[in-house]
Symmetry: C2
Subunit: 880 residues, 2 copies
Amino acid sequence: MEDSQVYYFGPGMSKNTLVSVERVGGKGAGLIQMTQLGLPVPPGFTITTDVCRYYYQHEQTFPKALTEAVCENLARLEQVFDAKLGDVRKPLLVSVRSGAARSMPGMMDTILNLGLNDETVEGLSQRSNNARFAYDSYRRFIQMFGDVVMGIPARAFEEILSEFKKEEAVLSDGELREERLRELVVAYKTLIQKVKKMPFPQDPREQLWQAICAVFESWMSARAIAYRKINHLDDKAGTAVTIQAMVFGNLGQDCGTGVAFTRHPSTGENQLFGEYLLNAQGEDVVAGIRTPLPIHGNEQSLQKKFPTVYQELLSTAHILEMHNRDMQDIEFTIQNRKLWMLQTRRGKRSAQAAIQIAMDMVAEQKISKQEALMRVEVSHLDQLLHPMIDPQAKKEVIGKGLAASPGAASGRIYFSPDIAEEKAKLGEKVILVRMETSPEDIHGMHVSQGILTACGGQTSHAAVVARGMGKCCVVGCSELHIDYKHETAMIRDHKLKAGEMITLNGSTGEIYLGSVPTVEAKLDDRFEHFMKWIDEVKTMGVRANADTPEDARIARKYGAEGIGLCRTEHMFFDLQRIDAMREMILSDHEKARRHALEKLLPMQRQDFIEIFKAMDGFAVTIRLLDPPLHEFLPHTQKDLVELSKKIDISLTRLKRKARSLDEFNPMLGFRGCRLGIAYPEIYEMQVRAIVEAALRVKREGVQVFPEIMIPIIGDAKELKMLRAQCERVCSQILIEEKETLSYKIGTMIELPRAALTADDIAQEADFFSFGTNDLTQTTLGISRDDANFFLPKYVEAGIYPADPFVTLDKEGVGKLVQTAVRLGRKTKPQLKIGICGEHGGDAASVDFFAQSQLDYVSCSPYRVPLARLAAAQAALRYKA
Amino acid sequence: MEDSQVYYFGPGMSKNTLVSVERVGGKGAGLIQMTQLGLPVPPGFTITTDVCRYYYQHEQTFPKALTEAVCENLARLEQVFDAKLGDVRKPLLVSVRSGAARSMPGMMDTILNLGLNDETVEGLSQRSNNARFAYDSYRRFIQMFGDVVMGIPARAFEEILSEFKKEEAVLSDGELREERLRELVVAYKTLIQKVKKMPFPQDPREQLWQAICAVFESWMSARAIAYRKINHLDDKAGTAVTIQAMVFGNLGQDCGTGVAFTRHPSTGENQLFGEYLLNAQGEDVVAGIRTPLPIHGNEQSLQKKFPTVYQELLSTAHILEMHNRDMQDIEFTIQNRKLWMLQTRRGKRSAQAAIQIAMDMVAEQKISKQEALMRVEVSHLDQLLHPMIDPQAKKEVIGKGLAASPGAASGRIYFSPDIAEEKAKLGEKVILVRMETSPEDIHGMHVSQGILTACGGQTSHAAVVARGMGKCCVVGCSELHIDYKHETAMIRDHKLKAGEMITLNGSTGEIYLGSVPTVEAKLDDRFEHFMKWIDEVKTMGVRANADTPEDARIARKYGAEGIGLCRTEHMFFDLQRIDAMREMILSDHEKARRHALEKLLPMQRQDFIEIFKAMDGFAVTIRLLDPPLHEFLPHTQKDLVELSKKIDISLTRLKRKARSLDEFNPMLGFRGCRLGIAYPEIYEMQVRAIVEAALRVKREGVQVFPEIMIPIIGDAKELKMLRAQCERVCSQILIEEKETLSYKIGTMIELPRAALTADDIAQEADFFSFGTNDLTQTTLGISRDDANFFLPKYVEAGIYPADPFVTLDKEGVGKLVQTAVRLGRKTKPQLKIGICGEHGGDAASVDFFAQSQLDYVSCSPYRVPLARLAAAQAALRYKA
């Protein structure tokens, strides 16, 4: 504790004192800054967060020097203000306020009007010539002190106050007469004596120290701890305490108190925006008992009522913006037409406002383009891109799940993808409701407005696919019970039948009865302009995960620079194709498999032709078949019987085959390149489709850059074998067709062993792409499909700082990513490395990938703008 | 190619020339050594393996200098032998033999009698005064050369030879008269001319160069490549070629040829042991046409027939043993009562012989104790410990699976563990035959002599448990089809009914019809003595994986120094316990769970009491509950109905609960410490049982060292939480009982993330124990239960050098092991680190663990001696 423990602000303070917000908290820093700028701030002093940390490290005691420092600063305050704490004639009143470095709104305590006692209240009365004001202040103080410091529930005081108002037959506190307020003070003091067996402290110094303690104690209140846990704030940071001379907005009709934003926080419009109350103290605005008046706009506005104060406020706002180079959220009090500033801080704003303000400030030359990019939160872009529930709309919440894919969707519920598809064809808006979804439900998901599931987490099939589709989705609603047989569902005590209308809020996870109106997201020119700035700055590429030509077109629209992951297996679930796929799987001989694959070849080729066209000029990374074969087989008796008839295989044989393919842990089973090695004909067909498609579009003038990606590689030898096989097919076609084609063959790094042996694997690979979904599953030993049992609790308990399937686990998976990058580039310094897991669309993860020197991230088309911004911010952060 | 490409051996060679076996091959090295020792060796010279490598690196051409070097050495040979290659009067004949550094018996080619042509054969005839011998040699040469060098199938020559014998009405080649042999030579040459459209080469130099080429070519023959793949030999090593003057064992009745071991290769007895043939050439012994005679023992023996030669052979054997300090396998030829040595190499031997010879040689002061330890192969001990199929017995092989747990077992087959148990109680010897086994089958496995399954690999449940039990087991017999309903099975075309007798060979995977006699393994004093030597040397501890008091007793018998893994869950499968366990699982509330757990507490405590007693003086590492809860629930409708009645839960609720616990990838699911965190009461009960048991036995004077091990830790915070919880329970009991107890709390390292964050985890752990089974599954992304689809092919294709569930994958998993050791000891330099996966019983893995500075390995009780030897060998290897 070498630095000063207490910082004074007020007349005579140095303009050069620099104190970090970490030490004096956000509130203290704002007050010090405003004082230094010569703005009207009631003088005061701030006890640093160091003292709070000391307090908790030393069994709730203060450092020795603190008493003296507080006394000295108090003396200075008294001198400046020409008043004395506890002085009967000229009593100084102070506020004692909490203020941590990171804002924790409403989480910690504040005490106003400290310094009043049975004697000073009289002095205040005489000095203000307003006895009612003095006793109103006194009763407010006792109430606050009793609650915050002495631990008597606020309710107890409220009950007495209500009693008084009832007796007087008045509605508001303000209507109580002075005599009654005097009696109220007595009643409050009696309450305290009764409950605490001790009197309300009359010594203002004792009041002060108890209040300081109480503020420190509130740092460790249950709700403050919970808030910090949720917001990933450090429990050790501590709070500062600011003791400030009171100014009064409740001295009469030429007084008031208010809050304002220097620009509009929803639209971003460059105009002071706020509200104030006449004849009121700060807490009245928050309490919301009286309707506040606007800062400008009507006859009651501050602009009209106090034009001078208004002008001063305007210029103050201007000064603060100039100085802080950002939109500010300010608090002020007017005492007898004099403006006092009580707080300034960075103002929170909507997505739209964030962009508007950032771009305006660039135009105003307040900030640089780079700063503007850092000002917009990545999650803001996400908000902008999805339609939202109209916040004004009335709605009945019937349940809540996990907010898996943002946006809003209304539709009639159906429990079967087939029926959903059928109804959608008739023009109905539908919502697919399932226990969980699987690749076989894709067609039903595709036609739905939104998806609701009872099981699964943020990375369940439903969540991943819905985000990929940019569709609203709520998953893991454990209150949801579905009776497929009777086509009904229960949520809490609501019984829902098929065809009933509900609305999902994918941004909050809420489920509403009926159709709730939504507000469309619109991407204006400003947005496009902003995105251009992003691309000027970012160094890492952003691609999209896109499986269809439609996906590819959307990805282009959102600025994707290629496809980082095209999953070929989704192409096989189409009704016309799945049978050929199944025939292939059920064949016992290579010849029969080849026969079935020949049916798939033209379809797959056509897919690639369209995707290549949509991605003209950009690379398209195509992953060869990855999932275990049993995923393609039907599972119900009915479907099995049907398939048996259709492809003419006995039901017994069909079942036996299906059973033989069943796996205990399919995630770690017979999939990816393991299939490619066992059945070379599958990958051969796929490579043929890719190369033939590429040659076809090339002839049409399309610039095509196919990248063949081989999944689940664990050892360089696997890749060597498959690479040779792919190259053989490619060469054969190129020779046959007398053509040339530039293509790449690379691998996913999605197993720990691949990361650990990346130097060897790089020998065989033209590129790496991290499959962080599987890499997370294997590194953490957590199946994302089964994680719902425990992972939410783990995140809640802080074992993992965030869902590792949403934000990359840097400590574990991140180490493997960096190991693989280091080893891979040791072998090939120019090795192209990307990432195509879900994490490619998460801001914190994108930041990490940029730091890890990746060449690109790939994410779902709808998250491309978000990833672009995150990449730009990372580029600015690490450009040193 | 700076070193000499050719090494001469014979009169006048330097006694100091040192040539590595890598360069001159095993055969060349033996001949050079014997020559240097002054033993009677026909002179010759060896072309190094460098030349072979050059040959393959330079499009099958020789280095320039080779021609000259061969000429020079040939000239020296001719001078020494007073004969000339191709000389009509004094023709030199040579053999051209392959010889790689690592023995590849029978895989490459050899040519004898080279140098003969239509003219030299006459010279040989005159010089030997034996025309029949000369023409016999010539026809042998043409036949061998035609086959090996010219690629004419040996069959073609054999057919002509048969024709001749038929015409003469003789049975053996030796009976053909000289005239007929002359005609045979003509017939052979005609055959060659006809097939190859060129004459048999008459120029001996051309013969020589063609033969050298042929030997090099045989290095890359399909069978040689296959052999090297199976035996993990390097394709790049190449073979040497030895050209040696011929001596003849087929010159008459004072000639012969033979092979011998300097000690008995089966028993280890210190006596020359071998066989010889009169009047024969080397290949006749191998061909096995005539019955060889013993070296000593009867009237026909070498000892009796050629006492001088025998004495010389005895002293030669002695010299070679003295020099090589190991039992030798030698080849010799007797030409006119003169002994010629043709080969010496390390002799292969049985397990028993290996120990006997090693110990005898220590007694004879030939080798040190340390060398003796290195001489016994670890796998030998394994052979010694299991009863074996009598190799003499007649047996009908009806099928073959994977040899999962060595030994032999005969019994009546049953398809249900319950029936197996029932029959065993009646005194029947039974073999459990299942599609696969699960923990619910344990009781049936326990009473069986052996286990046979249709599915699963070397690390399937059946294989692992059987090895743990020291029981013979054959798994993954894909030819086996079971019809549970009718209690029959098909293997190939054998239909087996319940109750039929079969025999399993757990060392080969073979399945025999009926009861095949076995030979008991016996551990004699010699074995015990040898094990004592081991313990003097080894520095790494060896513990056992033991779940029951019986296991613990066996482990002690085999020298385990504690238990490294006691799996508590196996204790719950007992019939009396499983219901309480199920009740606990099916409870919806903590209170109900605690109630059920209270029933389990005394049983679990009793288990620990007995295990602690059996391990008096040693540490016992107890792993808290690990498997997912659904493993404890029944799965068939019948069992579900029964359970529903027994514990009074509606069938619907029971089924719903069972379904809700089902997992997609249970291996990566809700298990291990994740259960402990979700249901603290489970681990609390287990810790209570451990501590109470420890205190109980401590009072009885037992030295008890419990180590509590927490599974599936992925992050230090999990361990921190659970450690605190365990310590709370411990302290509570110790305070209640006014006792002290020294215990440890540690964790398994079985997830990549745990290895990567081992520095943090070490903060909370008293010890680490690698769970290499799960670590292998997650690092490689391979579920061992599902690996059968592809892993065998992977090992065959050389993608993994060995089954990674048998021998630790050093490149991948090994890196994580070493990372965790480094990080863990960075935090706690004295951190105790062990390993308790299946790999603890594999010699190559144990070697790696010793190298990685682990404190101990833990393996199944029956593999303890094996691990002790492997640990001792590693200690010797890395003591530098």
